[in-house]
């Protein structure tokens, strides 16, 4: 027989001035299963809690109803208190007679009646409470960072510095990402490589960081603290354990290939390092272009390598490891503007280039050693048109969103042209100029003072006539059509999620929005977390942003990871779903409605008509279940139930007022 204790709180006069608490206590004392009912002036106070503890001991209570303020206020307080008593902390129900009764009603008689009803419902529910126990899951103190751009590097370094092991996975042969392609960074104009390559080197040499380049994640199972991740190591054809990176192979390789790192503005070899400061500083073979791998002829590198590092038989490899936390820093790509903008020539004019191509042109380690030359003929352009929002803020052609960084790097490009080419002219076509950032507006002002001409309007067409690129558009400030004859046009194109990033994220249980940017758990309050506990986001994987924001977010993600890895064990809420397997039909309805993929259909041995058979039933992963109860409402039999809010408990609450 249950021995329920009911405590009615006065909350000073907050409750007692409207609700006749003594009458409620009297009524509660008459309810079935109630052994003890009393009032208390301030139940949440130390003395109030002591009184409860005493009552529990004295009356041998085995469950408790507290009628007080909202459970959202003190449920945790009282659960904590119960851990010091003989009652299980989950054998507690709270009747909300303050926020949902005394504060919202004025008629004392009716408010008292309602309070009695609410206590009655809580008593009915508590009678069906079961002791629940938090379980703990061990935390594997190791972090996986996916993506080796500046976001991934920063997150990896922060976690590694705190003393935890990090594996940094990058699909390219070197870490560095997009930042290392850039020449200078706005608004300070410090050299991008000068500030990013030391970070790369640090990551490459850090004792706590394991770099895995030319790798991709192919599968993720498990849950927070315990993710089993399968990493696919693509064949490199060069043994990186023995290679010293002497570079002889690359020098002698006879096959020349378009260099994508230089945005197709130069050639590289079929055995290559991504760029001179690559980390690791060792080459790989491009299997698509190597003549040996394609047709079995050549093998020059293999003959020349003094250490015999070349292995044409290299195969892909799968490595499975356990991680406690995952950071997704999968970055961005620029849109294929040629497809979206045939009116800009659709790629047929060599001197219409993207902003990233310009970065390579102006970069001292780029194909022109930093001299701004037209890709078409190598001439120095005197008049340059910069077009902003190519694909951004243009839902009819490409993306509806703003790519955030372009306003600033457009100003930077204008500044660089004016600085490097004497007597040059720069025209910037824009929709708006957005410069929210420290020193940003000042930089934009300076660029205009330097002589950049800003024209408010979109460019409607670019065509070549008489060796010039004619950029037609409208100057919306004066309402006139304008045409600028340019030697070169730089298109500041929209960012889009890196190809394959949504698939990679889906592997880790993270969803993407309609544009493919990965979705954070809450846009304001949980910006680096995801719906999957233990998986975090940072950098442009989450949405377009510039380098300062990217790095800040990477450190934020690292802080979240550290908060997790600092724990030896995670306490899991016991209020999760459980399956009554023998009754489960295996229809999979619960699996369909689960928001966190905590339910899987598994084969279990079973008995059927006296025979041993294998049946498929639902199984809940207690590490993943978030306790929403959608499964429970979906199940027709009622064989999957949410502990703490069971079908029986809710039915009892509904029935409570009508029981004789």
């Amino acid at each position: 027989m249950a021995r329920t204790g009911v405590i009615i709180c006065h909350c000073g006069s907050n409750i007692a001035s409207v609700v006749d608490v003594e009458r409620v206590a009297l009524a509660a004392g008459q309810m079935p299963g109630v052994t003890y009912a009393a009032t208390n002036k301030y139940t949440c106070s130390i003395s109030g809690q002591d009184m409860i503890k005493q009552a529990i001991a004295e009356h041998e209570l085995d469950r408790l109803v507290i009628a007080s303020c909202t459970p959202r206020m003190h449920e945790t307080t009282f659960r904590k208190m119960l851990t010091k008593t003989s009652i299980n902390p989950y054998m507690l129900e709270i009747a909300n007679i303050r926020e949902q009764c005394s504060w919202v009603h004025t008629d004392k008689e009716k408010a008292t009646e309602k309070a009695i009803d609410l206590v009655h419902m809580a008593v009915a529910k508590v009678l069906k409470d079961q002791p629940l126990f938090t379980s703990s899951i061990p935390v594997h103190k190791k972090c996986l960072v996916v993506g080796g751009g500046i976001a991934g590097i920063q997150a990896a370094l922060d976690v590694a510095e705190a003393g935890y092991e990090v594996t940094l996975v990058e699909r390219e042969p070197s870490i560095g990402g997009k930042m290392v392609m850039l020449d200078k960074t706005f608004p300070t104009l410090d050299c991008s490589a000068c500030i990013s390559t030391p970070k790369m080197a640090e990551a490459g040499a850090h004792p706590n960081i394991r770099l895995m380049t030319s790798c991709e994640i192919s599968a993720v199972t498990g849950y927070i603290g315990n993710f089993q991740v399968t990493i696919r190591q693509k064949p490199r054809y060069v043994n990186h354990d023995t290679c010293t990176g002497c570079g002889l192979c690359e020098e002698k390789c006879p096959t020349k290939v378009t260099n994508l790192f230089d945005q197709s503005l130069s050639k590289r070899k079929a055995i290559y390092k991504l760029f001179p400061q690559a980390v690791p500083a060792k080459p790989v073979i491009d299997s698509e272009h190597c003549t040996m791998l394609k047709s079995g002829k050549c093998g020059l590198c293999s003959k020349l390598c003094p250490l015999g590092c070349i292995n044409f038989e290299d195969q892909e490899d799968f490595i499975t490891e356990t991680f406690g936390a995952i950071v997704l820093a999968t970055g961005y790509d620029l849109i294929d503007w040629a497809k979206a903008y045939p009116e800009y020539g659709g790629g047929k004019y060599a001197n219409v280039i993207s902003g990233l191509q310009f970065e390579r042109l102006v970069n001292a380690s780029g194909p022109t050693e930093g001299h701004i030359q037209r890709p078409g003929d190598g001439a120095e352009p005197k008049t340059v048109v910069i077009v902003k929002c190519v694909g951004s803020r243009d839902p009819a052609k490409a993306k509806a969103y703003c790519s955030r960084a372009c306003c600033m790097y457009a100003a930077k490009h204008a500044h660089q042209i004016l600085e490097k080419i004497e007597g040059s002219k720069v025209y910037v076509f824009y929709i708006d100029v957005r410069t929210p950032g420290k020193g940003y507006e000042e930089f934009y002002d300076k660029t205009r003072a330097d002589g950049a001409v800003y024209i408010r309007g979109r460019v409607s067409k670019i065509y070549e006539e008489g060796g010039k690129l004619i950029c037609k558009g409208e100057d919306t400030l004066i309402g006139k059509q304008v045409a600028v004859e340019a030697d070169m046009v730089v298109l500041e194109t929209a960012m889009e999620p890196a190809h394959g990033s949504t698939e990679t994220a889906a592997t880790a249980g993270v969803s993407a929005d309609k544009d493919g940017w990965l979705t954070e758990a809450h846009p304001k309050l949980r910006p680096v977390e995801t719906q999957t506990a233990g998986v975090y986001l940072c950098g442009t994987a989450q949405g377009p942003k510039d380098i300062p924001d990217t790095v800040a977010q990477a450190s934020a993600a690292a802080a979240k990871v550290l908060g997790l890895l600092a724990k030896d064990e995670l306490e899991t809420s016991p209020m999760i779903s459980v399956v009554d397997a023998p009754k489960c039909s295996g229809c999979g309805f619960c699996e369909q409605v689960c928001p966190v993929k905590a339910i899987s259909m598994v084969d279990v041995p079973s008995m059927y008509n006296g025979k041993r058979v294998t049946r498929t039933v639902a199984q809940v992963n207690s590490g993943l279940c978030s306790g929403c109860g959608a499964c429970s409402a979906a199940c027709r039999t009622g064989c999957i139930d949410l502990l703490g809010f069971t079908n029986k408990q809710i039915l009892e609450e509904v029935d409570a007022l009508w029981q004789e």
């Binding site: 959202r72 909300n96 919202v104 109860g629 007022l657």
Partner: protein
């Protein structure tokens, strides 16, 4: 629970409120000392997606004159998708209840966020009045059936 005679009849309304939005909104109404009729009895659930439509039938069966299901606005579910399933379930259930002969208005669903204390108050006011206008519910009700 004392049976109330017809003259002093007051509607009793059962409300299922999700912990993260509507229950919080109801708490906020209290915090702001808003006033609304005392006819409502709230059952706290983690998510509106937890509400099995059979609970609604049970509410009428036992004697509630009206039943309300409340959750976060579509798109704001604490668990991402719970209320989208809620919406489907109750679009269907509402029509089934009406087809079964339960008067329109006895069952209602609303999206009320944690900040919409005033909407919570207004909803309770409106629903209470609508159900008062319909009078005591005798359909699908246990006590009547036994008579």
């Amino acid at each position: 629970m004392a049976r109330i005679d017809a003259e002093n009849w007051e509607p009793k309304i059962l409300a299922f409120c999700c912990n993260w939005c509507t229950y919080t909104g109801a708490d906020l109404a209290g915090l702001n000392r808003m006033k609304y009729p005392d006819n409502i009895r709230i059952v706290r659930v983690p998510c509106s997606g937890r509400v099995n439509p059979q609970f609604i039938l049970r509410g009428f069966q036992k004697g509630y004159d009206g039943v309300l299901v409340c959750g976060c606005h579509p798109g704001d579910c604490h668990y991402t998708s719970g209320n989208y399933f809620t919406r489907r379930r109750f679009l269907l259930m509402k029509r089934l209840l009406e087809y079964a002969g339960i008067e329109t208005g006895r069952f209602q669903a609303r999206w009320i966020s944690g900040a919409e204390a005033a909407k919570f108050r207004d909803t309770v006011l409106k629903v209470t009045e609508e159900i008062r206008a319909l009078g005591p519910n005798h359909r699908m009700k246990e006590a009547d059936d036994h008579e």
